[in-house]
Amino acid sequence: MNMNLETLIPIVGVVTEVKQDTPDIKNFRVVGRDGKKPIQHMPGQCAMVSIPGVGEAMFSITSSPTNEDYIEFEIKKCGCLTNWLHMIEAGQEITVRGPYGNAFPVDDAFAGHDLLIIAGGVGLAPVRSVINYCRHHRDRYGKIDIVYGSRSKEDLAFYDEIINEWMSPDEKDVHVHLTIDREQENWDGHVGFVPNYVKELGFDTDKIAILCGPPIMIKFTLAGLKEIGFSEQQIYTTLELKMKCGVGKCGRCNVGSKYVCKDGPVFRMDELSELPDEY
């Protein structure tokens, strides 16, 4: 799939568009030097992005594989490399390598099922790839529910896409449930944390749940889902730990005997429960 996977040598990626999505999240469109999509991936897979001299880190590819023109990263400003990434402009070259890790089983376990996708903050990034892949292959899946929350309306990532595409009247059986942490002006939607909102909404349990967000959200949402009758075999999540190599050799992203970069980042909750609590 990728010529460079056996090495640690990246390829050049050109940032063609940078969009300020929320006050601390930017969206980056990346192509290869040839103007084509630099990496072929499946939803949930990640890539190493680097500014040489600054650093290299793993980011989930937020675009859907069905996008044939470019890949996208949705990156929150929170550390050294991400601060630099937030300063770059269109036309800047970066390096990319990947794809790394497994993917959400969109063509296997998810196929033919109703999906409940739950995300918090920038945690929407990896599952947006799933959402747009499933929307593209709409007839392969049942009802799609999306519960997404952030601190405020301004902090909702992909807000325009959610309103104009996912919540469009033309959309077939896709239901978006947005929530923000605190009351604010210009917001007449739900207010409250994601885990409670999920319980309030009270979903049927004959579906697959996909979780991504801050660890605290995952913890309480997972408990909530179990409370309303979901089994761990029905719940998927994706993890993020510090990575250097991306291929299970540098030794730092393991949870027990599993490497998140290679055996993950996507785990079914029953698999994750067998691992020690060190993530």
């Binding site: 056996e6 640690l8 040598i9 036309g91 540098c250 060190e278």
Partner: protein
Amino acid sequence: MYRIPREKLDQLFALTAEKETLYIPTDATSGIAQFKKWNEGMKMSEKLKTSRSAKDFFFPQTEALVNFKISGKKIDIIDPREECEDFVIFGVRACDAKSFEILDSVFLVDPVDTYYKNRREHGTIVTLACSRPSESCFCTTFDIDPTEPAGDVSAWMTDDSVYFKANTEKGEKYIALVSSLLEETDGADVDAQKVATKEILGKLPFANLKKDAFGGGKTEQYFGSPKWAELSEACLGCGTCTFVCPTCQCYDIRDFDTGHGINRFRCWDSCMYSDFTKMAHGNPRLSQKERFRQRFMHKLVYYPENHDEVFACVGCGRCVEKCPISMNIVKVMKTLGEEEAK
């Protein structure tokens, strides 16, 4: 089996070095034994083992990964890899020879680490059987026979001779290279040495150390043990154990600005360090207890689980000798193993 008189060893080194780069363990002026490139007059160390392990040959402490030239918004990527030259490492002990297999099953599995593979393919390993194992040795715990070391060629040194046996095609090639100095012989002296060495092995302080309480599938049993706090409480987090360990293979990738471009290199890293797993949003291993636990769980449980019950320790004893607070895998195994026995 082949034989050469000991006094001809210098000739053997010279003949080897004519064709390939040769490394032997030699005593530095500081008194430590270290693998060095052979040159005329260099003597092989009489010490049991080198201070550093032999992993440097295939997984050096630092190495260039990729270079970048930056001009404006443009980045050019320069691949610094070159085909490695053939080399011979003479006098590798059984423990270090086994460590190469352990590193292989990390670096040579898909996706293959081409930097490691390049060196590995060009290196011929001549091992040397141990006849005077030391008090810190416990290779037999991990089913290693120091009287029958692996490698491309196995060698045994007695008072008057050195004996050789080729184990691989590479080894056959090496024997052919130096055949003018060798004579064919039976292995009677070697057999006698093996018997004598095994007698010593049976009397070593760690001779009864068993690995049976550990292995794949034991995560739940040991991860939550209250003993980790006590075992790790004096750990300095210096990382010495990981650097002298022949099987520790964790690495970091970093960039260096040369002023003319960016050199990306990889270097050894240590799970004992606080920033090893530190991310912008936090650290899953907050205290030394978690880092310490990771190192030993990896060697005794996680690695065996992923690699057919082979442990990521070869009992070379370097960590036993070098740890400034005298904590080591033997103490960990004994302490946790006792728990198992209860």
